[in-house]
Symmetry: C2
């Protein structure tokens, strides 16, 4: 009788250990989402001459030619390329379409992921972007999944990270975080 | 008095001619929209191995791995590349995100715009797509604007045209028309 009780107790302990471990795994998976949402924020296009391209896209979309801005480097958020500070910048123009923002990017100086693309491919679609909550957490998750950060920086009110997902996804993914939302 | 009436009549004729011409110009402009809407329907990515990529994108989007289909050639709608019939096909996989559809495309055989991209750039973002009404009209408008069609074809229920907008926009644009809407 005592042996039976011991066997049952032991089985119960194993069962609980198994359930706990499974719970941890399930819980781990549920916190392992690479993205917070399934909504593309931006489609970004590298161009050589942003004034010319902004006018051409304005004609395509039958809209006003947008203003051109230059990428920022706010205090405390240096522009990093492969972990090193870079002087590279970009000229930017935005078109707010009905469901997504189209971003035109003209690389200025180097090194940057923008300039790498222009030198390798010429003009073309560089990345799709997603808004996230908690940049560091997401960058680490992408890194753990074999997709390292290639460039990071910020603007007055947020920060970005370019993820080199070439090996896994064949593209660059941009993560965006808005501090003021 | 008579001269005054003649002057007024002449002024009226000039005014009406001016108004008519302006109306024609405005009307012409309003029918010259290259696109019918400002909504990106698809962002399409060329991949080498669609089974591998579909699994990787399913992990990115935390969703099921979609089925793989092959591009069609319905009766009366041959697949044309640079105006000539081509045997080229593509394996396709679709992810319906919240605001846009992501399409994975693995080129099969050649010549095609899909295979051109893969040979020139490797994997990457090939085009953005827009739904239109009246494919022929839109293809002609793009052609008149210096953006010729590079490939066309269809599926059971619709047709597509790839516009080589490289010179003007730095990208390929796909036009889609749905016969069953």
């Amino acid at each position: 009788m005592k042996r039976n009780i011991r066997t049952i107790a032991l089985a119960l302990v194993f069962f609980l250990c198994g359930a706990f471990t499974t719970g941890l795994i399930i819980n781990r998976k549920s916190t392992m989402n690479l993205l917070d949402n399934k909504k593309v924020a931006q489609v970004a296009i590298i161009v050589k001459d942003i004034e010319k391209s902004a006018a051409a896209y304005a004609e395509l979309f039958n809209t006003d030619v947008p203003g051109i801005s230059v990428s920022q480097e706010p205090a405390g958020k240096p522009t990093l390329y492969e972990g090193e500070h870079t002087q590279a910048r970009a000229k930017l123009a935005f078109f707010n379409l009905e469901n997504v923002q189209i971003e035109l990017i003209q690389p200025v100086d180097k090194p940057s992921t923008w300039n790498d693309f222009l030198e390798k491919h010429g003009e073309g679609i560089h990345h799709i972007a997603f808004w996230v909550d908690g940049m560091k957490k997401h960058v680490n998750m992408f890194k753990d999944a074999g997709m390292p950060e290639v460039q990071s920086g910020g603007w007055d009110g947020g920060e970005y990270s370019y993820i080199d997902a070439g090996d896994k996804l064949g593209i660059v993914i941009e993560l965006l975080e808005n501090y003021n939302k």
